[in-house]
């Protein structure tokens, strides 16, 4: 038998750990989308008039796109039946009271939900120093450490709260990196987004703790459309973490989020994601469609935006966390591990758009495919006509665990300046037989050897995650490989 074939079949068939549902009263809109629904969402959120206008503008644009089949994003290496956008509920709140003043007001069942996910909401558990904003279905349920952060001038709150309390910041920056016309799902999000996270770090402030948002889709038949906006003023620093899960459901759920980051001169934003949405069962039934637009703008000189992601969930992942390198000497980074099994499909990568001088970007992507899954890297490196001395290095490695999966690499390298140096390397292979033999000769079982070698393959990326997250990421990857939990 092939190296680990049997074990790999087990891995490929393993179950989803977070697939339970919570019995929480929810205020869910009927299915369907039209201007009235958009107005209703705005009303439920208590949106100011300018926001209602923005939503409607986005909705009208999306409607135009949705009427033209050519405008549907179809270029990715993924296959799925047409989504019935009228068959989705665009708003669901965990109960009739959409906002909480303190954790005591939160439905205990909801807290148990987050506990079970390993998300420490209670402040007493927060000594580790992670501030958390938790978003259940469409509503932000709790944000911790708010007071402490505000002493430093850092605003960390739900998006709704930011709209209410910091409208000038939201008006200025929302849509400045990902306009509502950007793409099909970004338009949809701009129309119906319900909540999300907001973070503002003032000039010169180094955020002393990791900021973290956990997203969970709970309600059946709902989509989740959250927005995240991070603004790092001159010379500031923030590290931001995002995690997500969803219950096991037979129908596909749509998740179309937008994340925008703005980094001013010499600011640095590190954005880490562990994406573990429900991937569907082993036959590909159910699972989350994860169609996400994430983009950062290195607006000022010397700024830096770094995306690190571990993607293990979702039946379909379609996301390209990108950086617009506008400021001179700015830096963009993308580090990714994408693991797919069963019938999962992932088409993920990045765009590094070099606009300013002396800008540099690094892309390291590790794809692991098992079962009958397909895993694609798709990335664009564009060196603009004024991007003197731009540098890019890209490395995309794919590993195939099993003979019925696919691993694909689609890089686009566009060089418009002679001083650019763009280097791209990619490899695709299976686990090394010599490496397996070496480990087994030292007494490791076939299973342990595979786990060890796969985690070694990803080590470079996982090491980029903040400590706490790295531990969680390793565990998650081990569970995904283990195949027997749940």
């Amino acid at each position: 038998m092939n190296t680990g074939t049997q074990y790999l079949h087990e891995v490929a068939a393993s179950d989803y750990e977070h697939g339970w549902t919570s019995n929480i009263d929810a205020d869910t809109l009927p299915k369907g989308l039209n201007e009235d629904v958009v107005r209703l969402i705005a009303a439920k959120k208590g949106d100011p008039e300018w926001m209602v206008e923005r939503r409607l503008r986005a909705f009208r644009h999306w409607k135009k796109l949705s009427q033209n089949r050519d405008k549907y994003p179809r270029w990715a290496h993924i296959e799925y039946p047409a989504i019935d956008f009228q068959g989705i509920s665009y708003y669901s709140a965990p109960n009739s009271k959409p906002k909480y003043e303190s954790l005591d007001e939160v439905d205990p069942e909801l807290l148990r939900t987050f506990e079970a996910l390993g998300i420490p909401l209670q402040e007493r558990k927060m000594l580790a120093g992670v501030a958390v904003d938790a978003v259940m279905d469409s509503v932000s349920v709790a944000t911790t450490f708010k007071a402490e952060l505000s002493k430093l001038g850092i605003i960390f709150c739900s998006f709704s709260e930011a709209v209410e309390k910091h409208p000038e910041l939201v008006r200025k920056y929302m849509g400045s990196v990902v306009p509502h016309t950007d793409n099909f799902y970004a338009s949809l999000n701009a129309a119906v987004f319900s909540d999300g996270s907001f973070c503002y770090v003032p000039a010169g402030v180094r955020c002393p703790m990791e900021l973290s948002t956990y997203f969970r889709i709970n309600q059946a038949g709902t989509g989740q459309f959250e927005r995240t906006l991070i603004i790092a003023e001159e010379g500031s620093y923030v590290s931001y973490l995002e995690g997500c899960t969803a219950p096991q459901r037979d129908e596909n759920q749509l998740h179309a989020a937008v994340v925008e980051i703005i980094a001013a001169k010499d600011a640095e934003v590190k954005y880490s994601t562990i994406q573990n949405w429900y991937p569907g069962d082993r036959d590909g039934k159910g699972g989350v469609y994860n169609f996400v637009t994430k983009r950062g703008l290195c607006a000022g000189s010397g700024s830096k935006i770094s995306w690190t992601q571990l993607e293990t969930g979702s039946s379909i992942t379609w996301k390209y966390p990108s950086v617009l390198l506008k400021g001179d000497n700015s830096i963009g980074e993308f580090y990714s591990v994408a693991f797919t099994k069963n019938r999962q499909q992932a088409d993920t990568g990045t765009k590094m758009i070099h606009i300013g001088r002396n800008t540099s970007s690094t892309i390291i992507s590790k794809g692991i495919s098992a079962g009958r899954s397909n895993n694609s890297y798709r990335g664009l490196v564009k060196i603009g006509r004024k991007a003197e001395n731009a540098r890019n290095f890209s490395q995309c490695d794919s590993m195939l665990l099993g003979d019925r999966c696919g691993a694909h690499t689609f890089p686009y390298l566009e060089v418009n300046h002679p001083t650019a140096r763009v280097e791209h390397e990619a490899t695709t292979s299976k686990l090394g037989e010599d490496q397996m033999f070496y480990c087994q000769q030292r007494g490791l079982s076939e299973q342990d050897a595979i786990k060890l070698l796969v985690s070694g393959f990803c080590q470079e990326i996982l090491a980029k995650l903040p400590m706490e997250f790295a531990v969680e990421a390793r565990k998650l990857l081990a569970i995904e490989l283990e195949g027997s939990v749940g």
């Binding site: 087994q440 490791l444 080590q459």
Partner: protein, 256 residues
């Protein structure tokens, strides 16, 4: 002096080409057997077949290890039963830290023996002691297994793992190749320190040089997949002086 390994009339081939053509060898505890032979005689094949590499087909013969049929065991089972191979070309494991690797290897074997798993502190202490024994730069332990190691460091790392895993039967496959004289001496000292009454060694080498520092109990000459001559340590010196041709001639003269 209990028998550990009993090889009888072992035949093995790779891609249909016979390499071992009826090899006999028996190793007891406390013994160190040197196997010498010209290039292509089957030395490394023997090591690989004993460790269970599946690039080779065993076409006949038997190997008994501690009274069990070795050829029936999986690669990791052999390792857990105490059979250790120091690789001629140690494999690089990118991203796999030395300590994590050692922890998993040591504890897999301990668990198999019914011993308690070593905790991180105990493992670290043991690693420090054993590294000192063979002069391994402790900084190497911070790195990925064999990645970016020099040739000499890789070979030392093999002996270091031997020390960590405490096997019953250790097979050293051309551990001396690519080592300068100082590194050779350190490795030899390490091996000598690990020679115990309850452990057997097979040392595969092309040159006599290593045997100046590791004194064998027996020397065997492997030609064309068969042991054609056996003797004491003085046989190695004779081979050094006269080359392999005379044994080859002798063996050709006497049909098997």
């Amino acid at each position: 002096m209990k028998p550990i390994l009993e090889i009888q009339n072992l035949r093995a081939s790779a891609n249909g080409t016979p390499i071992l053509r009826g090899l006999d060898l028996s190793v007891r505890t406390g013994e160190l057997h040197a196997i010498m032979g010209p290039n292509g005689s089957g030395k490394s094949t023997l090591a690989s077949v004993l460790a269970g590499r599946d690039d080779y087909d065993v076409d006949g013969g038997a190997v008994s290890y501690k009274g069990e049929d070795l050829l029936e065991m999986d690669v990791d089972e052999r390792a857990r039963e105490g059979l250790f191979l120091a690789f001629q070309y140690p494999v690089e494991l990118p991203g796999v830290s030395m300590m994590n690797f050692l922890k998993q290897a040591v504890n897999s074997i301990r668990e198999h023996r019914g011993e308690e798993a070593l905790n991180a502190a105990a493992l670290l202490k043991r690693a420090r002691d054993k590294a000192a024994l063979i002069g391994l730069d402790t900084r190497l332990k911070q790195r990925s297994v064999n990645e970016g190691f020099s040739g000499g460091e890789k070979k030392r790392n093999e002996i270091f793992q031997l020390a960590m895993l405490e096997p019953t039967m250790a097979i050293l496959d051309e551990t001396d190749s690519g080592l300068d004289i100082d590194a050779l001496k350190t490795v030899a000292e390490g091996v000598n320190a690990l020679r115990t009454d309850d452990r057997g060694f097979i040392v595969i080498t092309h040159y006599q040089r290593l045997l100046n520092y590791i004194i064998p109990n027996f020397v065997h000459v492997l030609v064309n997949g068969r042991i054609v001559k056996s003797g004491g340590k003085e046989l190695a010196l004779e081979l050094e002086a006269r080359g392999y041709d005379w044994v080859r001639d002798e063996s050709d003269a006497v049909p098997a």
